[in-house]
């Protein structure tokens, strides 16, 4: 157990260090930087989702006055590399796919970049795009991963002989024998749609060649470490590419893949001038990765007393045009498919395939929400088939401390899912559910649970570094390469430093995300920054405290172990009146030649790449558990529904910033609430028909009720002070709760398993129910 401590800042709703600048309109984002003599850049994307690129003629575009560069694959020093996501080791094993900068050979999707243009103005750059002549041999293409895996299917890439990206499985127990002992078996197909991140800031940034020959970028990205890939593509040493990162206007996984960095670097090198590139909304939505569409088959068996004995699951994932993060995401889907339940007999098989759709990669939840949707739909159906209360069925099967995941791994953090489910159930049912509203709409309620990892796959050997420097006036600078996408990733680091050194937030200055000046913290992905960089920060403050305490001990005349930090002082724990100002101790340490600056590294647990034919053991450091409760009203005349109540619960381990933690839970809830029903990109044969916010509907303030958050603090996380990560887990288990609540209202499962679950489909289900 954690030692009980009085925490002054940790756990409170401390204003973030950057909130005031953002509220007052002073925060600059990727599109807010400019330079004299700057050029504007545009990308020519493919006109077709599937084609063979025969040739590109840039002569007319280059001749247009005001155009300074038109680049194609032939102009890229290294056009093909492997995709890296900040990992400090080469993982191998098929996990790192092809990164192709500009099109060559087969064109795999409409998002494929064919040429880059830099010109005096944006208008001239757009004009130049129209003058580039591309010779395409249009091919048939394949748009469904199930078809892509059939023998004789159109092969998406010119580099591979088949469309299969990865095949893997997890198994335990004896599935065949277990099904024989089941009283009820529910078997069905589920389907999830691609999901758009829909950050309000599109991708963009600018850069220039500095006086030392360094390609210097100002681009907001979730993975600062992409500078290494950019350098490799350019044929430069890593030291000659620098990204002075910029806070992102939202990321959610969509800014985890390289966006504009390589394009800018190529154009800066070609023109020797500053260059800016910002994607339009349409370009952003058609081009960046989506959450993997999944085709899932679930067969779940239970005994009549409600014990789930067996889960047999197969998953087909649409990887789209390139590999990117597909294998990593696939691990999460495969590993998480049975949910936070103790199921003794499991067989999960998964396969991912290339198609000519926009590529799939990271999206908040990283393979978790798809399987969670199917799994939690199954749970309600098993309960109904057995005549057991739906929450009670879950209760009889939920994991508790000491239980194993299907890979055999026993999570080390607290497993609090049953505790939070009880809280949500009590809250949702504190009033008796009415059958209908006075306006005639039917009421439905549902509860769903979920588990999701925080921290990266352990075979990536993840690490983070943070540096702190104490100034002579007692203020502190934290240097951390932590890309801040809006979750408060940098602010919690400041909070931890202030807490540990007994200072205020205002005393701590954060200098973040500059690849030349800040220690590398690794990616802002995988809900890892609080866990990884928070722990690195704790280590750094511990080193500084070890230096300061002997000085204070000498000055105060008491042993170090009896002293503590607080109120800008170092004081005697038993008699806080005996104290010495922090700044005085800092002065003495400096006079004595002590070091006022330090860097510390935190390493996650390391494992080896698993055997994909039979995944065993640990894959991630730990998991976070969530539960969502939903009440909906369904209009049975139209099939439209409204969410009346949203309850979001999590075991956060320990809240570091109350507002940020609640903010994740509230935002996560809305992020996925409409995914099954409203947020449909309308992919048709490789074309994204819903490419802006008038056709792709994300919830407005008027569409949603207040989220009621329940945050449990078990202290059982692996992060600082026993914290767990909540960023991605917060959007898990909401989607099935919404759909199961609709099911509860209309009393039929028809049409509720395959997204998009439109009002038309809900209405058809109601009509079918009534005609029986």
């Amino acid at each position: 157990m954690m030692q009980k401590r009085n925490l002054k800042l940790v756990g409170n709703a401390v204003p973030r260090h950057d909130a005031a600048a953002k509220a007052k309109g002073e925060q600059l984002y990727s599109d807010d930087w400019t330079m004299p003599n700057m050029l504007y850049a545009k990308v020519l994307r493919s006109a077709y989702p599937a084609a063979i690129l025969r040739g590109v003629n840039t002569k007319k575009a280059k001749a247009l006055p005001g155009v300074h560069a038109v680049l194609t694959a032939d102009d890229v020093p290294l056009n093909e590399d492997i995709t890296k996501f900040g990992q400090m080791r080469d993982v191998g094993g098929g996990f790192e796919g092809l990164y192709k900068v500009l099109a060559r050979g087969k064109i795999r999707s409409k998002s494929e970049a064919i040429a880059l243009v830099a010109a005096e103005t944006e208008e001239i750059a757009e004009e130049a795009l129209k003058l580039i002549e591309v010779d395409y041999e249009v091919t048939e293409g394949v748009f469904d991963p199930r078809e892509a895996l059939l023998p004789g299917a159109y092969v998406v890439s010119s580099e591979d002989s088949s469309n299969e990206i990865m095949r893997t499985q997890v198994q335990c127990g004896d599935i065949e024998e277990a099904f024989k002992r089941c009283d009820v078996i529910i078997e069905d197909d589920y389907q999830t749609t691609p999901h758009e991140h829909a950050y309000i800031e599109t991708e963009g940034g600018m850069g220039w060649l500095d006086e030392n020959g360094v390609i210097t970028l100002r681009v907001g990205v979730q993975v600062l470490e992409h500078y290494r890939t950019v350098a490799k593509i350019m044929g430069l040493p890593h030291t000659k590419v620098r990204n002075i990162g910029v806070p992102m206007g939202g990321g959610f996984g969509g800014k985890e893949d390289i966006t504009v960095e390589t394009y800018l670097a190529l154009l800066i090198a070609a023109t020797r001038r500053p260059v800016k590139m910002v994607w339009t909304r349409e370009e952003s939505m058609e081009t960046h990765a989506k959450r993997h569409p999944e085709y899932l088959h679930y067969k779940t068996g239970a005994t009549k007393d409600g014990k789930i004995l067996a889960q047999e699951i197969s998953i087909v994932m649409d990887g789209g045009s390139y590999t990117y993060l597909t294998p990593w995401v696939q691990m999460y889907s495969t590993y998480g498919a049975v949910g936070p339940y103790n199921v003794p007999n499991v067989h999960v098989q998964s396969v991912s395939a290339f198609t000519n759709n926009t590529f799939s990669s990271a999206n908040r939840g990283f393979g978790g929400p798809q399987v969670n949707f199917a799994c939690e739909r199954q749970m309600d159906r098993i309960a109904d088939a057995l005549g057991i209360d739906r929450v009670e069925l879950r209760r009889r099967n939920l994991m508790h401390n000491g239980d194993r995941l299907p890979t055999g791994f026993i999570p080390q953090g607290h497993i609090g899912v049953s505790e939070i489910m009880d809280k949500v159930e009590a809250e949702l049912n504190k009033t008796k559910k009415p059958d209908r509203l006075p306006d005639g709409r039917k009421i439905g309620r549902a509860i769903a649970v979920g588990h999701m990892v925080y921290g990266r796959l352990t075979f990536m050997h993840d690490s983070s570094r943070v540096s702190i420097r104490i100034e002579l006036d007692g203020s502190v600078t934290v240097r951390a390469g932590v890309p801040d996408l809006g979750g408060g990733q940098a602010s919690v680091i400041c909070q931890i430093v202030a807490e540990e050194l007994g200072l205020d937030m205002e005393d701590v200055h954060a200098y973040i995300m500059d690849t030349h000046l800040t220690p590398l913290c690794g990616t802002t992905t995988a809900t890892r920054q609080l866990y990884m960089s928070g722990n690195a920060t704790l280590k750094a403050t511990a080193i500084m405290k070890e230096r300061l305490l002997p000085v204070a001990s000498k000055l105060l005349g008491y042993p170090s172990e009896n002293l503590a930090f607080g109120d800008h002082s170092i004081y005697l724990v038993n008699n806080p009146a005996i104290r010495i100002p922090f700044v005085t101790v800092v002065g003495h340490l400096s006079n004595d030649g002590g070091e006022l600056e330090t860097i510390a590294q935190f390493n996650a647990p390391f494992t080896e790449v698993p055997d994909l034919s039979d995944i065993k053991g640990q894959l991630n450091p730990d998991l976070t558990y969530t539960c969502h409760g939903v009440e909906v009203a369904v209009d049975e005349e139209t099939g439209m529904y409204e969410i009346l109540r949203l309850i979001a619960a999590v075991d956060a381990g320990k809240m570091i910033n109350k507002n940020s933690c609640e903010g994740q839970m509230e935002g996560g809830c809305l992020y996925n609430a409409w995914w099954p029903t409203h947020e449909d990109l309308q992919w048709r044969n490789g074309i994204t028909k819903a490419n802006n916010f008038s056709t792709y509907y994300i919830p407005t303030a008027a569409d949603m009720p207040d989220v009621e958050t329940i945050i449990m603090e078990s202290g059982g996380g692996l992060g600082p002070y026993g914290a767990k990560g909540v960023g991605e887990p917060s959007d898990n288990s909401i989607a099935p709760a919404v759909v199961n609540a609709i099911r509860d209202a209309i009393g039929t499962d028809m049409n509720l398993n395959k997204m998009p679950i439109t009002p038309e489909k809900i209405l058809a289900a109601i009509k079918a129910r009534d005609s029986k």
Partner: protein
């Protein structure tokens, strides 16, 4: 290429002359002149992050022709915050209530909130939600944004502002 024209307008209380393209929208004209607090999210009037006050009314600046603003008055989040007690209070409330995550929708939200409150908006969560429904936010789930506006509305009602 497009024709350039000069327009005279008052931005954040200062008379300025801007050279704009004849077809340019107000959002682009403002950003080209370094009013960076006016953000661009979609440029077709859907996301609301470019919201400014035009002659005292909240508008999405991407849907307004810059040339049509000749002789008119514009206020942005930053200018309002530095000049009016109400907006400064809204900005502070956003900080206190944890309403700011990535912050990209925030300037537009603050302007929308200013518009709601200066027109007598009440501390009514449903009405506040309706008032900011033209401004999309993908991070917060809107709860803490509504909290902040509600808090200021309450202060106004109680005569504290």
């Amino acid at each position: 290429m497009s024709e350039k024209i000069n327009i005279k307008l008052k931005i954040n209380g200062v008379f300025v002359t801007l050279e704009v393209l004849a077809h340019q929208n107000l959002l682009r004209a403002l950003r080209d002149n370094y009013y960076w607090d006016v953000k661009c999210g979609c440029e077709v009037g859907e996301c609301g992050t470019c919201t400014v006050l035009l002659d005292g009314q909240a508008v999405k600046s991407c849907t307004v022709l810059a040339a049509a603003c000749d002789g008119h008055e514009i206020w942005t989040d930053k200018g309002l915050g530095l000049s009016t007690k109400l907006t400064a209070r809204i900005q502070d409330a956003f900080v206190e209530c944890g309403s700011v995550q990535c912050g990209f929708c925030t300037p537009g939200m603050v302007v929308a909130a200013t518009d709601y409150l200066k027109n007598g908006g009440k501390p009514d969560r449903t009405a506040i939600r309706e008032a900011i429904s033209g401004n999309l936010c993908r991070c917060t789930g809107y709860v803490k944004i509504v909290d902040a506006i509600y808090k200021v509305a309450k202060d106004i009602e109680e005569g504290l502002l």
